[in-house]
Symmetry: C2
Subunit: 378 residues, 2 copies
């Protein structure tokens, strides 16, 4: 294998595939990045066996020459060293050449590295998915749907299925749901499906978080291919594979209250900042809760109390109020997480009692719902 | 105590004094910030008993009203909470009021915090220094002298005196020296001393690092007062006290070679980047060293070798070379630290043999010297 390549393109691709490489793997070859040179270009692969990322650099792209292949071939290089080395190379062109015994020479200007490579034939093969099963979604919408749900997955392995986000696809709609059983985030969007396909899968939260870091904010379509055990996200030059979680996702639809006794609308930023201030003392308290009192005078009072440190009380004027007076306590972290992903200057909160889950939404927008279970303190 | 204050000024002062507050102190009241309101303004104090910082906010400054005092007094508030609270307050004006039992109310807009304060009379007093002993130095020069020496102090408590920087003041000069016994940094500057004063003190490296963070890059003069056990740095609104280290600083003058056998001048940036690349493999090696070979052909070769990972070799063309061929090994970290604080596009390195300390300087600048002890590998 021997090729020359634009350093910037190589650095960018290495950064992408590096997101799948874990230093804590039990399979030594997975601490490396696989490099393959073919007549079309260079492909780099990183994997931790849960996530695999392949980034392709075509020889010619938009009339720019990225890569010149002198000899096809492949090698696996230690990911950590290879990524640091290419980033620090002195010139804009890099030459990479495999010599005997997998010894790999990396040249740029007057710097010459020689790294001990590994045999690429020992690197695990990526899953082969049948690409006629799948659908498309714009990159920016996909990123938003991930951001608005993935924070609510469980971080505990007690119920592994809850560490993933449930994706239900059917009837030209995509429903994403995440819950850690104390709060729930729900987002839906219209899709154009190619046929009568329907899927119900659970994608690990970690995979979606890493995917999101690689995606840009363009409107370009991402191809998504779903099988029983794997999901593949395909952009122009990147293949992102993730395994799916085994098991049945709980039915969360009955958790979402259909009626409410108390509803108010407040300015998102004012309310968020008040909760943020109250959380300063809440996290020292025994329960880590803030209290909220709302009444028909349109005053929403937020308070928190930590016997050792002190207390805080603050009021926000609601823009509208309907229903009964209410006193409720909840985790300020869950509330802040939910508020941060809702768009719009106003939010609508609907309660159906001090011990019932409550809903946080953007007024007149049914596509996203955040739900929080209160904490019993009264 | 009761006053109103501009939030921005309060936040800035709290950030300054917070640098002296440690959460790991064994004296509980030192986890707090002392606030004193007098007719002139507000002073805030933080201390970990090694470093004490007092920041003063005058009522009127450049015709702006910073503070309105309603009632003089003092209180100590938990530093961590107080700093986070003031940063997050909603309005640009803050009111602080001590009520009975040290309960302190912080109001801003519709937010009201109530914190449990501590009795300010239990807070340790700052040292009283006689201010007629001392000298002055421009802020930007002081910052530079700290930056160019403090990185070389020892981080090990084996010889506590080496954790500080030696300041020798006399004959209208200030000499700063730091060494961890593997490398040494030396910087001098001309001073205008008020009389025939001379001092020889050791200031903890940590104190100088924290001081440096508080200083701006202005040319305003800093007043420095030195006693047997304390040093005080005085800017317009800040008093920064540090204790001095006990003991005698070693005589380092005999360490610095007066003659050399091999001298070369190279471009600083090229040389630094070559060392940086070589260090990528060096730190995995047994010795963590890079090798340097210089010869009369003006080629400086830098190399490093880690049997498991690979090797690197690179050459830099020197701009001038005098003396004998040389092969030497050293820690790339020490070299990078030294190169980063030297100013100018070129550096001059002088060797007096493969096992003798070598000097790194800016050509034609005697004010700053960096010295590194080589590592035996040949």
């Amino acid at each position: 294998m021997k090729f020359t390549i634009q350093k910037d393109r190589l650095v960018e691709s290495v950064q992408s595939v590096l997101k799948a490489v874990s230093s804590r793997t039990t399979i030594p070859i997975l601490t490396g990045i696989k490099i393959e040179a073919s007549t079309e270009g260079i492909s780099l692969t990183g994997s931790d066996s849960d996530i695999s990322i392949e980034s392709f650099i075509p020889c010619i792209e938009e009339e720019n020459e990225n890569v010149t292949i002198h000899q096809a071939g492949s090698i696996v290089l230690q990911a950590r060293f290879f990524s640091e080395i290419v980033r620090k190379l002195p010139m804009s062109i890099v030459e990479i050449e495999v010599q005997n015994q997998h010894e790999t020479i990396i040249r740029s200007g007057k710097a010459e590295f020689s790294l001990n490579g590994l045999d690429a034939s020992e690197y695990p093969l990526l899953p082969q998915l049948e690409e006629h099963h799948g659908f498309q979604i714009p990159t920016d919408l996909l990123k938003n749907m991930i951001r608005q749900t993935v924070f609510a997955v469980s971080t505990s392995e007690t119920r592994p299925i809850l560490t993933g986000v449930n994706w239900k696809i059917g009837n030209n709609e995509l429903f994403c749901t995440a819950t850690d059983s104390h709060r729930l985030a729900y987002r839906k969007a219209a899709l154009e499906l190619r046929d009568e396909e329907s899927y119900n899968v659970v994608i690990p939260g970690k995979s979606l978080t890493e995917l999101s870091k690689i995606l840009d904010d363009s409107r370009e379509l991402v191809d998504i291919v779903v099988t029983d055990t794997q999901v593949l996200f395909k952009t122009k030059n990147i293949l992102f594979f993730s395994r799916l979680l085994d098991g049945t996702y709980p039915d969360t639809s009955r958790l979402i209250p259909q009626e409410s006794n108390t509803d108010f609308i407040v300015n998102t930023k004012e309310f968020l900042q008040a909760i943020d201030r109250a959380s300063l003392l809440a996290r020292e308290g025994r329960n880590n809760v803030v209290k909220l009192s709302a009444n028909p005078d349109k005053i929403v009072e937020i308070s928190s109390n930590s016997p050792e440190i002190g207390k805080v009380i603050e009021s926000v004027v609601s823009e509208s109020f309907d229903g009964e007076e209410l006193n409720i306590s909840f985790s300020p972290k869950y509330m802040l997480d939910a508020l941060k992903v809702l768009e719009g200057t106003e939010i609508h909160i609907s309660f159906s009692g001090p011990m019932r889950p409550f809903l946080i939404r953007t007024p007149n927008d049914e596509s996203i719902v955040q739900l929080i279970l209160p904490v019993r303190t009264y």
